[in-house]
């Protein structure tokens, strides 16, 4: 029964997303949606990838990483080098972008995740800045003036990558590995006492998150003719962090919803950057006032449907305390 329901949600989700894809693809190809919409949709998908990948690190594993734009940058530049300098195909560039970002994730994550406490926050913050400054000073990738990149990122590509990201992270979260990660978020000492190799899982989740951020970087780089170090500053990291916090720490659908919401808001406010910041802040304040644990709390959108039929045994999961 429960299994059927799970499978139902899974395939239901796939079918719904394929329908969305087809409809958008149709509207794009017959010109109903113009370039502005296409661009917004592409950014939306990229933002969803970023949000979901950071969700795995912060929301699921409970590791406070605040330099996600650093991985985006590493992926962007690595993939741009693959296509522009080495003239290799775009799919390979995406893959390499992800792998290089994951390796960077290992280099940052391994030393700081072995220790408890806030080392990761400090290390990732520093990493984000170091990456930006490094690209600023490397002439091979154009320094401050940036690097020219060809336009390869199309709606099918971003959509496909987004779907794969969500599926991989969803499956990971629901596996034994995912449960081990959640137990670390809940109580690292207790997780240790259960015999869970906490360092391994923290580093693994961090690397998977970095990988997908790197893929997002590849998509980002090949969307807009030029990439510059200034695209990847701390504010970018902060934007991604907001997706996750606003959506509700621990909720993948929450991260997706808030990525969509905020992408739309900032697209329509593009020409008024000051207003953008004000509206952004207002949205945040309102959500934190009325939904202090984020839009979705730790729940998933599927639980909204299955809720009513569920147990009479007093499982009021909405009331549970936060440990995060």
């Amino acid at each position: 029964m429960a299994f059927l329901k799970k499978v139902g949600f899974f395939w239901g989700g796939i079918v719904v997303s394929l329908v969305i894809f087809a409809v958008v693809q149709f509207l794009l190809s017959n010109g109903t949606l113009d370039l502005f919409y296409e661009n917004t949709l592409v950014y939306m998908a990229i933002n969803i990838i970023l949000a979901v990948s950071l969700h795995l690190i912060i929301g699921i594993t409970g590791q406070f990483s605040i330099g996600h734009a650093g991985f985006l940058a590493v992926g962007a530049y690595a993939s741009a080098i693959i296509t522009m300098k080495l003239e290799l195909p775009f799919p390979l560039a995406l893959l390499v972008g992800g792998i290089v970002a994951a390796l960077a994730g290992f280099v940052i994550g391994f030393p700081s995740l072995r220790l408890r406490g806030d080392y990761l926050a400090i290390a990732t913050l520093g990493f984000g800045e170091i990456v930006r400054i490094a690209f600023l000073n490397v002439d091979y990738v154009g320094g401050a003036s940036g690097m020219m990149v060809e336009h390869f990122t199309t709606w099918p590509w971003v959509f496909g990558c987004m779907l794969v990201t969500i599926l991989v992270i969803l499956n990971f979260t629901r596996s034994t590995h995912g449960r081990a990660c959640i137990s670390i978020r809940e109580d690292e000492t207790a997780a240790d006492a259960m015999g869970i190799n906490t360092t391994y899982y923290k580093v693994l989740a961090f690397m998977i998150g970095a990988f997908f951020a790197g893929v997002a970087g590849g998509l980002f780089a090949h969307n807009f003719y030029i990439i510059q170090p200034s695209n990847f500053g701390f504010l970018k990291s902060f934007d991604i962090l907001i997706f996750v916090v606003l959506g509700g720490l621990g909720s993948l659908s929450g991260a997706v919803i808030s990525a969509i919401l905020l992408t739309v808001i900032s697209a329509f406010l593009q020409d008024y950057p000051e207003t953008r910041m004000i509206i952004y802040s207002l949205v945040l304040i309102i959500v934190m006032l009325y939904r202090p644990r984020g839009l979705m709390g730790t729940k998933e959108i599927t639980s909204l449907f299955s809720r009513k039929k569920k147990s009479k045994g007093g499982a009021k999961d909405g009331q549970s305390e936060t440990v995060a």
């Binding site: 449960r179 081990a180 137990s183 207790a190 015999g195 569920k310 045994g313 007093g314 499982a315």
Partner: protein
């Protein structure tokens, strides 16, 4: 089964254990009592691999486990029910139990052990889908113990299972501890409630500021003036 030899443990520069020796024989319930801050929890954490001893040895059936990784020690058959229960609050009772069995691969044995835990703690079976954080204190203690039992330990380390529980529930928990022991699990029990602990244990150790100051059979300690004065509220 377990023998601890002259173990020293530090937190930074502070020495929390100043050379502790203790042993537990197969099938026993041994209790470790002592005032707050004596180092009881520190000792259990050292046995379960959450802390590393600076000096001394921890032997399980003659093999050194001191300083080994926690997951290795769980694999070797030691489970630790930490002080304050530390259940995974945002996970269900069932998921908590599954995590207890994290290192196990034997499907058949697992099934039996779920049944065993449910028969020891019928409350948990009623509440499988409930979030652990919403359980009462007593239920959380049961869950913490059930979770540890899912690893199928030969030696169970219990850190203050009676903490914050009503007297009646404490009795129940202690009865269950005896049941677990009779089913073949050796137990090392840290307790503030010296009365009850001495009543179910065969032997006991008394700890003060990082050392063992007294040890003997429960009967010996129950009648010792020093213990009466300090831990049994007696005269």
């Amino acid at each position: 089964m377990l023998s601890i030899e002259d173990v020293q443990v530090f937190y930074g520069n502070i020495r929390a254990l100043e050379g502790v020796s203790l042993h537990v024989k197969q099938g026993e319930i041994v209790t470790l009592i002592g005032a707050n801050g004596a180092g009881k929890s520190t000792l259990l954490k050292t046995v379960s691999g959450l802390l590393k001893p600076k000096k001394g040895r921890v032997l399980l059936e003659g093999k050194e486990i001191g300083g080994k990784a926690a997951q290795l020690i769980v694999k070797k058959g030691i489970s630790h029910v930490p002080e304050g229960r530390r259940v995974f609050a945002n996970m269900t009772v069932e998921e908590n139990l599954q995590l207890g069995a994290y290192l196990r691969k034997d499907k058949e044995g697992l099934k039996q052990d779920y049944e065993k835990v449910y028969s020891l703690f019928p409350r948990l079976l009623e509440r499988l889908k409930q979030q652990a954080g919403t359980l009462s204190g007593g239920e959380q203690q049961m869950l913490a113990m059930g979770r540890a039992l899912m690893a199928k330990p030969r030696l169970l380390l219990l850190d203050e299972p009676s903490m914050g529980l009503a007297p009646l529930l404490v009795k129940t928990i202690f009865r269950i501890i005896e049941e677990i022991n009779q089913a073949g699990t050796t137990i090392l029990l840290v307790e503030q409630n010296a009365h009850l602990a001495l009543s179910i244990a065969q032997r006991a150790y008394v700890m003060e500021t990082g050392r063992i100051v007294l040890s003997g059979t429960s009967d010996e300690l129950t009648s010792s003036d020093q213990v009466k004065m300090a831990y049994l509220g007696g005269h």
